[in-house]
Each structure stands twice: as C-alpha cells, then as structure tokens.
Amino acid sequence: MVYKKLVKILSEIIGSDDEDITPETELTVDNGIEAIDVAKLVIECEQCFKITIHDEDVHTFKKVGDIEEYIKKIKSDI
C-alpha cells in the first residue's frame, strides 16, 4: 500500500513510469531526482499519508525503500 502510493507520487514528480522505480532506486541526480524533487516528495508524502516527516531525517533516505520504511515506522508508532 505504502509502497505503491509512494512510487506513484515519485513517478509523477520526476515524470517516469511506475515500473522503472524499485525499492533499490537511489535518490540521486543520476536517476533524475534532484534536491527539489526530494522536497516535493516529502511534501506530497506528508499530505498523502497524513504524517510529519522531520527534515533532519531526510538526508538518511538513500533509496526509495528507505522512505517506505520510514513512513511505515511512523504509521506503526502512531
């Protein structure tokens, strides 16, 4: 659930297909993901999943799977 929504959000932001994104996809310029895209992603995720993402944690997201884990953790702690 989380993963699917996350992928949808990200693919819309960077203009790619859902299938091109995997949990291992790194959040780097090489993959077409810039700092501003990450910011957009964070904002969208907060709205979509109704959570707060702390800015000091964002730099620990190295790949898509990391964000998925983070969101899942917040949701389970609530």
């Binding site: 501003i36 990450v38 910011a39 904002i43 702390h54 800015d55 000091e56 964002v58 730099h59």
Partner: protein, 748 residues
C-alpha cells in the same frame, strides 16, 4: 557359570528386541516423513494455484473470508513443515539407536512397589508407542541419574513430583557396537574404573569421545546441579572437565532452567577454533543440536565493530618468541595491568568523566536563535543518572534538542517561504523551495548535533594514554604497577597504528559495553567458560556486561596450564567476586583419566608444589628424552619416532613445538620426508601426524606426543615449565622428548 550364560543369553535377546523396535519405528518414521514431504509439496502447489488470483481480489474487495482461508492454508503448510523437521530428527536419532541403543542398566525397585524394574539407559529414549513401555531411558532423565549417583543399595532421585526413593539391586554396563553386544559386566564402584580403563586403552579418535558412559560420580554431580548460579571447576589436565562442561550444557538444555530454554540459550566460550571443531562431534552424539560456541575475539569484534585486532594467539606467539626480553617484558606487564581490576576501575571512572572532560557542548542555533544552551545540555547529560549507558543519555539528549527544533520548524518554514517569495530568481514553487532549504539546514544541524552526541570510543581511549597528567588524576588512590610510565608510553605509541593490540582491544570492548546498550545476548541463560585460567579480570567484567544478570555460569580452568601469566587458586576467588552470583561453588577434579601412570608421573615434575594429581591405573612406557648431535640427526630421530608410532597403530600423533614459528620450520624440514600436517587456527581435523605449538594444543589429546625442542634455548624459566606440563599432558599412551644442543635445565 550357568548364571553368566543365562545373563548373556538374556541380554543378547533383549538387545535384539530393542533394536527390532527401533528399526520398526525407523521405517515408520521414514515412511511418514516421505508422506509428509509429498503432502507439503502438494499443499504448497495447491495453495499457490488456488490463490494467485485471489490475492489481488483480496486487496480490492477486502474479502475477509478469503483472507482467513489463505492464512489457514499457509499455517497448515508451516505446521506440516515443522512436523517434517521433527521426523528428520527422529530418524537420525533412531539410526544411532540401532547401532548403540543403550550402555547401562540398573535394576530399581520403587519404594511403593514390590518388584525390581530393569531400567536401560542410553543416549536418548525409546518408547514402545502402543503400550508406552520405556525400552530405553535418556541418560539425562531423573531416573537415570541413579545410575551415576548410587551404588547397590538405597537410592533416590528428584522428579517433578518430588523425591522418589527406592533400591538398586544391579548396575550393569554394556559395550555395544553396530548392534552387537561386545561385552558387559556388573559394576560396583571399583569396577567402573575397570570399564574406563578398557575404554581408554583403545586409541583416541581425533574428536573427543563422548564419555557419557564413563562419567564418574563427581562429574555427574557437576553436570546435574541446576541450582548453582556459578560453578567453578579446577580440574587437572585429563580430568575430563571440558567433557563435563559440554555434558552439563546438554543436560541443562534437556531439562531447561525455565520452561523456555531452547538450544539458543547456552554460550560456550572457548579459546580457539581447533578446539571447537574438535568437540563438534560430542554434542550431536549426545542427541542435541548445536550450542552457540564463541571465541573471546568474536566478542571483541562484535562489541567494538573493529576488525583489525591482535588475537590472543598472536599475543602469545609474540611473547613466546625469543625476543629481546625487554619487549616481551613490557608486553606482559602491559597485558597484566590492562587486564587487572585496577585498570577496569580506571576505565569506569573514565566513562563517568567523559561528559565532564571530553565532550564539547555547544549552543544549538535554529531559526536565528539559541534553542538550547550548552550548559543546559551538559547538565542534562550529567543528571540523567537513571540511565546507566552514556549512549542512551546522549540519544535522549539528541531527542531533547530535536524536540525544540520540531516545535520551531513550522515557524522556520514560514520564514523561509517569505524569503523565497521575496527573491523570485527561481523557477520552483515557493513551498517546495522553502522545504528544500529547510531540509538542507536541518541536515547541517543534525550533523552538528551529532558531533556532540556521537562518541568515538577509540579516539577517547587514545586520549587516556596521550595525557599522562589526566591518567594519573583519574587513577588517584589506585595501585599502579612500577613500570606504569613505560606502559603508558608504549601504549601511546602503539595506538597510533590501526592494528589494536589484544589488551587494548579488550579495554575497547569494555568501554563499548559500558557506553552502548547491547541486546545481542539477552536470552542467554547459561554461560560456559573453558580455560578460565587464561583470562583476566577484565574478561570477566566484559562477560558480566554482555550476558544477563540472571544467567548461570560454569567456569572451568586449570591453574597449572596458564600461558603467559602466573596464577594460583585465588583466581577463582577473583572470578567469584566479579561475577557476583548468589550461590557459587568451587569443585576440584584431581583424577586424570587421560594419560598412563608413567606419563602423568612424568608431567608432575613440571608442577611447582606437590599438586595433587591422581592417576587412573593405566600403564605404559616411561617417557624418554633423546638427544641428537645436529638438527639433521634430530629430524631423523623424530621421523623414526613417528614411524614407530604409526607401527603401533596410533591414530593421532602430535609433534609439539614451543612456538608457531618453530612448528613451521619443523614442518618445512620434514614435509618431504614424512606425511605430516601443519596445524593453524583454522585447521579442521586432527588425524594423522600433525605439528603445532603448545598453546594451540590445550584441551586436546593425542595417542602419542613428541615434544621436539627441549633444549635450554627454548625452555628456561617457570613459564616454560608450565608449557612443558601442558605439552606432556596431551599424551594418552606415548610421550617422548627430543632436543639438540644443550638440554633444558628444567629436565635435569
């Protein structure tokens, strides 16, 4: 006479019946296991076929019933798999039973009954399923303990229901191999030794033989004592104390101290890999699965996460080589000091002092103001005394600071948005741009915070030695060795390298465990430590931190077999003090089962006082000392001796040298002339003729031992004496010593 024939016929008949039952159960088990395997496969197939479509339906329609059915199917499969695995275990056990179903029998009459029952005792139990008749009792069961504890006459055992009393009429022991009854005899206390003699007169296999059958009374008491929190055993070489420890582990696993004891709950701390592999046979033989076996170095790697560490063996090798005596002197003194309780106290004070002396607290700025003043931060860490681990306090501190940050964050983003809106030289939307800036800021902030809240323990440890004034201040009122200045200088120099010396690695491990929380071993219930005489107080302090306070310890040692340090019986008092358990006891085992009378007698000349070692009555050749005029001649003599041993059908022949370097040199010289193996830490098997240093041979035994270098260059002082004691007590049947040059004065 006729009686014996009658008994023999009876026993042969009984053996055949027992094996028949085992075979029947085995074929049932094999069949049932095959069926289960097929059932699992077909269930798995069925489930995936039926449900691949359904899974997507589940998400859409949220059909609860489908979900339940799916989960039930999966549970049924995993149940089948566990059943299957249990069957596999059962099959292995039954296969063993068919070869050797039992090794002893007692005839026991319960007090409230009239007749004597024949109780057969084996490595695991065998029950006739329809009638529930116990064909064979597991040696660890309460009733079986009567065999070990009592002779003919009154006896009792502890069962869950209470104390069960009765009488023993017969004690009989069997040697059964491959389903054939080799011999049996009726035992009272004396003849048990005879049995042991028979067993030991055979050659040792490379793996330590399971001596379940030969556990003597005293050993049995150690094995079955589940109430003691700490059992220490001072056992002479060949007393079987290591076997005892393993059997204790097996027994405790079998019974469980709490209802939840599983095989994961026992840790054995053993000195080297050879040893682990050597005893790997004993546990499966006893019918148990694996136990967690760990070297102390593994503990160090795990707690410090640092790999570039000197091992104990490397330290020993460096101490044993004929270095400048200055070098080994300072290394020894350094190890002794850093292993001591005094140094542990210094480390404790050091950790308490870190927040005061080594942490740089800074004001934390966010959104243009100070959200946390440094004095407050420092006070918070120091006052958080309820939390013992510094790393936890620092984690709390981080959360504390971040709470303020999070409170301010909305405000901050609003400010950033205003800033972005005012400077329209950008292509991004205001909200995103502001967020991006905030993320950037926060990343910087957390890195700054972590400079305060994350400790580099190795760097801190180095500081301890680079600032002598601080060290002495910390060590006020603590007794320091005379050569402390030298030790400080030496350590300070060595710490520049990446490679950590063994004693520093231990200190680092201790510090890590005091600072960080370690949950790795929280369900350990039993700790078994072998060769305790080689450990220092700091080792035991580390273990105390690593394992739960409620865990029970079995500590084995032999003060005569220390390498690199001097030790007496007060060692056990020290250990008792550090581990601080509610109930503890020290047992001494003086009977040596391993070597012949002559070898044992010979080895005692290397002991200091009249240390009591009683032998076991087996006779053999007197050990001899041979001299050769040159190295070449020495090699020839050694090769000769090896050939003699092989002719006498000895399965394991050990060439023992003082150091690894010597072993390698010897190996190189001999390898083209005779079939020998060089042993190092990672070698797997010990059959045939092998070469290695004394310190790797501890705890092992061999049919024949050849000590290759007893000249006065190699063996001079008291420590060397101990080495010779260790080396000579490795031999079961044959021991000879060789040298070239001048004979060691220790042999005169």
């Amino acid at each position: 006479m006729e009686n014996i024939k009658f008994e023999q016929d009876f026993e042969i008949e009984h053996l055949d019946q027992t094996i028949l039952l085992a075979k029947k159960q085995l074929s049932h088990a094999r069949l049932s296991s095959q069926e289960k395997k097929e059932a699992i496969v077909s269930s798995k197939k069925g489930t995936s076929e039926e449900n691949t479509r359904s899974i997507s339906n589940l998400w859409m329609s949220q059909n609860f019933h489908d979900l339940v059915e799916l989960s039930q199917n999966i549970n049924a499969i995993s149940d089948k798999i566990s059943e299957y695995e249990m069957d596999v275990k059962k099959i292995l056990m039954l296969e063993k039973m068919i070869k050797t179903p039992y090794f002893a029998r007692i005839d026991f009459k319960f007090d409230d009954e009239d007749d004597f029952e024949k109780v057969y005792i084996g490595v695991s139990s065998l029950i006739e399923e329809k009638t529930n008749e116990m064909y064979v009792y597991d040696w660890r069961s309460p009733l079986a303990s009567v065999f070990y504890r009592f002779g003919i006459g009154r006896a009792f055992y502890e069962a869950p229901a209470g104390k069960i009393e009765g009488e023993v009429k017969l004690k009989r022991q069997y040697e059964i191999k491959n389903g054939k009854l080799e011999y049996f005899f009726d035992a009272d206390v004396e003849i048990v030794d005879e049995f042991l003699r028979k067993l030991l007169s055979q050659n040792a296999s490379s793996k330590m033989k399971s001596i379940v059958e030969t556990i003597q009374k005293e050993q049995d008491m150690i094995i079955r004592d589940i109430k003691m929190d700490l059992i220490m055993v001072q056992g002479v070489a060949g007393s079987g104390k290591t076997s005892v420890a393993l059997h204790r582990a097996a027994y405790l696993m079998y019974h469980g101290l709490t209802s939840n004891l599983t095989f994961n709950n026992i840790v054995i701390i053993s000195p080297n890999t050879i040893f682990e592999q050597y005893i790997s046979n004993v546990l499966p033989e006893l019918g148990e699965d694996h136990i967690n076996s760990v070297k102390f170095e593994d503990i160090i790697y795990m707690t410090t996460n640092y790999n570039n560490i000197q091992t104990k063996n490397q330290l020993l090798e460096s101490l044993l080589l004929p270095n400048s005596s200055d070098y080994s002197n300072i290394r020894k003194k350094s190890m002794e000091f850093k292993g001591s309780s005094q140094f542990v106290e210094i480390l404790k004070r050091f950790i308490d002092d870190i927040p005061y002396s080594f942490m740089e607290f800074k004001d934390v700025y966010y959104n243009g103001k100070i959200i946390s003043k440094r004095e407050l931060l420092k006070t918070k860490v120091i006052n958080d005394k309820n939390i013992s681990h510094l790393s936890m306090r620092l984690e709390n501190l981080e959360h504390f600071i971040l709470e303020f940050v999070h409170e301010e964050q909305k405000e901050r983003i609003i400010k950033l948005k205003k800033y972005v809106a005012k400077n329209p030289v950008h292509v991004f939307e205001v909200e995103e741009a502001a967020r991006m800036l905030s993320i950037h800021e926060s990343t910087d902030l957390i890195k700054k915070i972590r400079q305060i809240t994350e400790l580099n323990i190795l760097n801190l440890y180095k500081k301890l030695f680079s600032n002598k004034k601080y060290f002495y201040k910390l060590a006020k009122d603590i007794e320091l060795p005379d050569c402390i200045e030298e030790i400080l200088d030496y350590t300070n120099k060595e710490l520049i390298n990446d490679f950590l010396l063994y004693d520093d690695a231990l200190a680092l491990a201790y510090l890590h465990l005091k600072v960080h929380v370690c949950n790795e071993f929280n369900d350990i219930k039993q700790v078994v430590i072998d060769e305790a005489q080689d450990y220092y107080p700091i080792h035991f302090e580390i273990l105390n931190l690593l394992f739960p306070k409620s865990s029970r310890y079995t500590v084995l040692g032999d003060i005569n077999q220390t390498i690199g340090k001097q030790v007496n019986l007060s060692l056990y008092e020290q250990i008792r003090g550090i581990l601080n358990k509610k109930s503890s006891t020290l047992i001494t085992m003086e009977k040596s089962y391993r070597s012949t009378n002559e070898i044992l007698e010979y080895s005692t000349r290397f002991l200091d006082e009249d240390f009591k070692v009683t032998s076991f009555g087996r006779n053999g050749n007197m050990p001899e000392v041979y001299t050769a005029p040159s190295v070449d001649a020495l090699d020839e003599m050694i090769i000769n001796e090896i050939n003699v041993c092989i002719e006498m059908n000895y399965q394991s022949v050990a060439l023992i040298c003082k150091t690894e370097r010597d072993s390698i040199l010897l190996y190189e010289r001999l390898k083209s002339k005779v079939n020998i193996k060089l042993i190092n830490e990672d070698t797997e098997d010990l059959y045939g003729t092998i070469v290695f240093p004394i310190y790797m041979s501890k705890g092992l035994e061999f049919d024949a031992v050849i000590i290759c270098d007893v000249d006065d260059g190699h063996y001079k002082d008291d420590e060397d004496k101990k080495l010779l004691y260790i080396a000579s007590t490795r031999a079961l049947h044959r021991l000879n010593l060789f040298y070239t040059g001048r004979i060691s004065k220790l042999l005169k």
